[in-house]
Structure formats: C-alpha cells, structure tokens
C-alpha cells in the first residue's frame, strides 16, 4: 500500500495533498519519480541565467518559482519540489501551482518537452489542443467532453514513445480548470476557485468520470485561436515551416525551458511531433456556436467515426 499519487505517468510522493490526482496504481516497488515537500526556499539562487518577477533559473539548472506573499517553490533535477508557504495544505493555490507551472518545469528538467495544451481522447486517439492562455483551450475541451469524448490532460501535453515508435500522449489527472464564463455557458457546476485570493474567475472542475487514464497514440495537434473578421471559424491543415513554428511556439514556457534543457533536443522533439498532422483551428468567438463546432471537429480532423 502506498499514499503516493500519479500524474502524467509519474509516481509522486508528496507531503502536500494533491486530491486532483489519481492514486499510484503502478508497481509498488518503483521508487517515486518526484518528491514534493514543504521546506525553506532561498530568496535568491546563485548564478542566475534568467530572472523574471516570478522565476529564477540558476546556471546549475535549478529553478525557483515564486509569487510574492503566496508561495515560493524550488524545483531541482526534475525530481524534487520544495514548497515554502504559509498556506495550509488545503489551499487551492498549492495544487494549482504544483500541478501547473511547477510540473511543467519538472518535465523540462527531465528532458521531456511538454506542450502547452489540453489533450482529449477522440475516437481512440489523442488530440492536443494547443495555444497560449486565452486561446480557449480548456473551454473547447469542455465542449468536447460534453460531446462524450474523454480528457487526457488539461494544460500540459506530455509525450512518450511506444515500443513500436508511435508517439503516445500520457494521461495527466482528472481535472479541468475553467473560467466562470465558460462554466455558465456550458451549465457546469464549478468546484473551488483555483486561487485563495478572490476576484479571479477561474475554477477547478474535477472530471473523474470523463477521464481517459491510459496513454493514447497522438493523432493530431490543433493550434487554437479565436476567429476574427478576417479569419472565420474553421479547421485548416498546417504544413512545413508553419507547422514546425506553431508547435515550437506551443512548447510550454519555451523561454524558460531554453535554460533548462538543450534547445536542439527540444527542436528535435518538435520535429518528431510535426510528422503528425497539425491543424490551425479557429474557434467561434461565442459559446452558442461552440457546441456545433466541437461536434464537427473529429470529422474535420479526419478522425473516423469508430468508438469514442
């Protein structure tokens, strides 16, 4: 028996509860891949190669992530996260920051290359909906869940290569994070706000019954943006340099990652991903049209009508 939990295939031993995740169901003998603990985090890392209001990256590859007055987090070797905070264990900020930004950096330190995107199981294959914050990834994902598809991951897409060489998407954990406007439009009951501070209209939505817990072969990446008057809603194929560049831009926090892992290695992984179909997806700007848009998506992506 173990209390360890699981996200993106990692066995996580954590002193801060992460009830959003699943219990570890792999081999009991495998040591944890990631340890999360409370502890003190230095104000300043030595030999900084990148320094922003929130992030310090040290020349030795350690990363400090902090929000003033909320928490600071030290991330080392892709194996250890130390959290320095006055927040109680059940504060929503902790899983929000640990399973989002911190885990993204853990994967970069581990030499995997996460993409910024939601991932869905569509007719037996994985489709990543990638794009910057505000593009509408989670909302489109919620609209696809309402069509009976399943969630693989909410914000980070992590890949592994199967024995037969196919690229697989690894399941994350059964939670979405959605904005108030989307929740209301899709008539979804929100969970907790993602931050203790009021005034941020983003909420947890646990979806254990809509989660797909096994790796699935990647079918396509959808690069999402909102339609505008000169670019109406629709799906179009991206090829060549355009496809490569779209995927590179959706590497999770590329500018930080560039200090954590070798850029040619990241680009090599992008090249592997863009062998699969890449689409530019312009979603409708209003919720009314989004349901029909989501319903038409699998066919527009050339996915058959077999089992979901």
């Amino acid at each position: 028996m173990t209390d360890d939990c699981m996200a993106y295939g990692l066995r996580i031993h954590t002193r801060i509860p992460l009830p959003q995740t699943l219990a570890w169901n792999g081999s009991a003998g495998r040591p944890p891949d990631l340890e999360i603990d409370r502890g003190s985090v230095p104000e300043q890392l030595p030999d900084l190669v990148r320094h922003t209001p929130f992030v310090q990256v040290s020349a030795d590859g350690r990363l400090r992530f902090a929000i003033d007055g909320v928490l600071s987090v030290l991330i080392e070797n892709g194996r250890r996260i130390t959290v320095d905070t006055a927040l109680p264990d059940d504060a929503p900020d902790l899983p929000s920051m640990l399973l989002g930004p911190a885990l993204g950096m853990v994967f970069h330190q581990r030499g995997l290359t996460p993409l910024h995107g939601s991932c869905l199981a569509l007719r037996g294959q994985a489709v990543v909906i990638a794009g910057p914050s505000g593009a509408g990834k989670s909302t489109l994902a919620a609209a696809l869940l309402a069509q009976g598809h399943r969630l693989l991951a909410d914000d980070l897409a992590i890949f592994e290569t199967a024995a037969d060489g196919r690229l697989l998407v690894v399941p994350g954990y059964p939670q979405q994070r959605l904005w108030r406007g989307a929740l209301e439009a899709l008539a979804i009951t929100p969970g907790r706000p993602i931050r203790s501070a009021a005034r941020l209209g983003k909420f947890e939505r646990r979806v254990p019954e809509l989660f797909y817990p096994e790796p699935l072969p990647l079918a396509a990446i959808c690069h999402l943006s909102e339609a505008d008057p000169s670019n109406p809603p629709g799906v179009s194929l991206l090829t060549g340099v355009e496809a490569f560049e779209a995927t590179r831009r959706n590497i999770y926090r590329f500018h930080i990652a560039a200090h954590l892992t070798a850029i040619p290695d990241m680009l090599h992984r992008v090249a592997g991903i863009v062998r699969l179909p890449q689409y530019r997806v312009r979603r409708p700007g209003n919720f009314t049209d989004l349901t029909a848009f989501a319903a038409a998506m699998p066919a527009a992506l050339g996915l058959g009508s077999e089992a979901r």
Binding site: T52, P53, F54, V55, G100, G134, R199, L200, P229, R253
Partner: protein, 280 residues
C-alpha cells in the same frame, strides 16, 4: 536612446490609426496592409502571450494585482531584448502598480504619444463597435475602477487593463509620466495628420521629411483603411460582424447618435477635463 515608445489612449480614440501611420512613416511612407501579419515592432503592451513568455508563468494563474505588480519588470525584460524602438499600444491609465512603482517605467521609456478624443464620440464608437448599450458605456466611462479584459469572468488574449474613468485616464497621461509625452487630439489628427506626424517624429527622435510624411498620411487615409477592411476584414477587429472597425472616422458624429440627455450626462461626468482639452 531608451527603447519603449508608448502609444497611449483610451480605447476607440485613434490608437490604431496612429500606429498604422507610424508603421508607414518608418517604412518611408509605404502603403499599409492593415492585416499585415508581421509588424514586430508594433504590438500591444497588454498582449498576454508576450507577458507570459517574458515572465515565464501563465498569467491565467495570477490575480490582476499580481500581474500588474510584475508588469514594469516585464517591460524592462522586453526592452532588454534590443532591436531598436518598440512601439507599444497602451490603453491603461498611467497608474502605479500595487507595489507603488509606475506601471510604465521611466528608465526604459523614450516617450509617449497620448491620443485623446471627444468622450461623446468615444462613447458612440465603443457602443457601436462592441454592440453595447450607450448608457452602459457612459456609466463605464465614469467609473474610476473600470478594468478592461478583467479576469473576474473569463480570460482574454489581452491582460487586464485598468482604464480609470475617461477623465482619470486623460489626466493620468497628461500630468503624471516621468518621460516626454506628446498629447494629440484625434480631432486635430483628422484636421492635419501631417502636423501630428511631424510632432510625433520629433518627440520619438526619428528623422523624416515632409514628402515621407505626406505619403504616410495618404497611406492611412480613412477611406483606404475602410476599403481594405471591406474587402478582407481587419485582424485586430473585435467588433460585431456587421460593424466595421474603421466605422466613420469623423469628429462630432455623436451629434446624430447620442440623445441630448446622454450628451449632457457625459458633460456632467467629464466637464473639467473636456474643458481642459477644448471639447466644450
């Protein structure tokens, strides 16, 4: 010279027109394609994706105050990337962050071009463009706490922008910046865009000549911009589909679009600043 040039205005006041004219001017008075995908030196200061890339965190996880507090440092990181002057569209008022420092840091700011427009025309333009009720817009323009693209309901590709009231916005840019500010009235730009561009070039410190300025003025005449939008749409437009971004391009349009009570309410709300700017 310091790299950041702020093109600052309350929304719907001529900001886009000025940026297109500046783009033409910097390209020797070349014709403008309003949908040109690459205007790398002309971007919104409140672009969420750029902010996230600069600071290395998803701003959609952050509160409005946390974002605001980090923006001066993000502007410094942006400025440090080099490449010459950066023209940044700004709708925010000139305010201090929750940490008490100016949102727009003087140490990397070359100048601001501050554009104002008769608030009665701003109200009409805003209401028509976004399909809002005019009275709602008028009330918003009087609200000193108004935040455009607030994250209390949803997330946008743009960061939250504290606008203040229309008067508060104008006053903040007229009186507070610690770097040179050229205030231009939209109405004067309509009257004589060449003169506005000459003054703009002077304060930014770019060398140009009258012939180039005349070509830039011609390239960004309202009828040309409108014609392009009619043919191919406008990528920056967030207006309702039936309404053009380049809608009328005139001064005083409020006279046939506001009721007398609505016009009077705006004068009541903003009388002193309207007087200061010569609108009443």
């Amino acid at each position: 010279m310091k790299p950041l040039v702020w093109i600052a205005s309350y929304p719907k006041s001529g900001n886009t027109w000025m940026r297109l004219a500046l783009t033409s001017l910097l390209n020797g008075g070349a014709a403008i394609d309003i949908n040109m995908s690459r205007r790398p030196r002309d971007v919104s200061s409140f672009n969420r994706m750029i902010f996230d890339d600069l600071v290395g965190v998803e701003s959609s996880e952050l509160t409005e105050d946390e974002i605001l507090a980090a923006r001066p440092a993000a502007f410094r990181l942006w400025a440090a990337e080099g490449g010459g002057p950066l023209f940044l569209k700004v709708h925010e008022a000139y305010i201090d962050t929750p940490k008490g420092e100016p949102l727009f840091p003087a140490d990397v700011s070359r100048a601001a071009i501050h554009i104002v427009r008769d608030p009665r025309d701003v109200a009409v333009s805003t209401a028509r463009s976004y399909g809002n009720d005019i009275d709602t817009v008028i009330a918003r323009m009087a609200n000193p706490g108004h935040v455009q693209s607030s994250t209390r309901h949803q997330v946008n590709p743009t960061l939250p922008q504290p606008l203040s009231s229309w008067s508060g916005h104008a006053e903040s840019w007229l009186d507070r910046p610690r770097f040179p500010v050229l205030t231009l009235r939209y109405e004067d730009m309509l009257e004589d865009m060449a003169a506005a561009l000459r003054r703009t070039a002077a304060i930014i410190g770019i060398t140009t000549d009258d012939a180039t300025i005349d070509r830039a003025v011609m390239a960004t005449r309202f009828d040309r911009l409108r014609q392009q939008e009619e043919q191919r749409g406008f990528i920056e437009s967030r207006t309702q589909s039936s309404v053009f971004f380049f809608r009328r391009g005139i001064a005083g349009g409020w006279r046939d679009e506001l009721t007398p009570a609505q016009a009077a309410r705006i004068v009541t709300d903003h009388g002193p600043m309207m007087k200061r700017l010569g609108y009443i």
